[in-house]
Amino acid sequence: MKSVVTTAIASADAAGRFPSTSDLESVQGSIQRATARLEAAEKLAANLDNVAKEAYDACIKKYPYLNEAGQANSNDTFKAKCHRDIKHYLRLVQYCLVVGGTGPLDEWGIAGQREVYRALSLPTAPYVEALSFARNRGCAPRDMSAQALVEYNALLDYAINSLS
């Protein structure tokens, strides 16, 4: 799993040397930002269901055609799956906040994403809308501190960019 620490160790190992001062500096940089990241992760975990519900409602509101017969949100099973998918992305965002890199989103979310959505003929625009809603819904200091929100929004932007 890629993170600042594992990247530093992998490069030191490739060169067969002990962790150098610059390796330790880069790890320290990650640790300094970790407090904000963990705060965002904690707040997101506590409200994951609500955030996912709001994001899901927002994307169905913008794309009401999804409710029509034969579309991706047309029956209860599909609705539950749509909601689950949004929650899935937010959970991966929470993992990324914990790890301090985009490893979890890359490995478990983005890899193969395009192929899966094409095979299932799912539109990606509603996912973009749902994540964009979450991206713009967060508010500092109501939801979390400003720095934590920056980290959280950066990861949502990363997920949005992967879908568009």
Partner: protein, 184 residues
Amino acid sequence: MLDAFSKAVVSADASTSTVSDLSALKAFVASGNRRLDAVNAIASNASCMVSDAVAGMICENQGLIQAGGNCYPNRRMAACLRDAEIILRYVTYALLAGDASVLDDRCLNGLKETYAALGVPTTSTVRAVQIMKAQAAAHIQDNPSEAFAGAKLRKMGAIVVEDRCATLVAEASSYFDRVISALS
């Protein structure tokens, strides 16, 4: 390869839940600079630690450097020093990551079988690792024994806190113990 953070993520993903218990990770972050100092203390003294550990191992078992011993001639002694350094290096990586996976995957996996095939005596190797374990503890605490070290005494001169990084010493020791149990 995992670190303390990705380890938490991988175990949370197994139950498709969010990472809920962040207290251990917060403690990791809070003592981050201590950890970096500990890694630096080992990395800065690595060659001294390795040569002393191998020399100590040989002192206790002179047969190693006599004809037919595993540290005779120089070529095999050099291989021994190199291996001790590799083991110490991976322990340092594990201490930096806060997780043993890099040590397990890249160093210990198959090491016992390799040594058995090459005829390396594991009891001697274990002894050298034990010496490095004691040295690492002394360097992390920045409290090396003047009686043992004599003129070779080295200190990092870090501002030492009251508990002398007891949790980090315990963590580093656990990685050395992991090496010892993998070999024996």
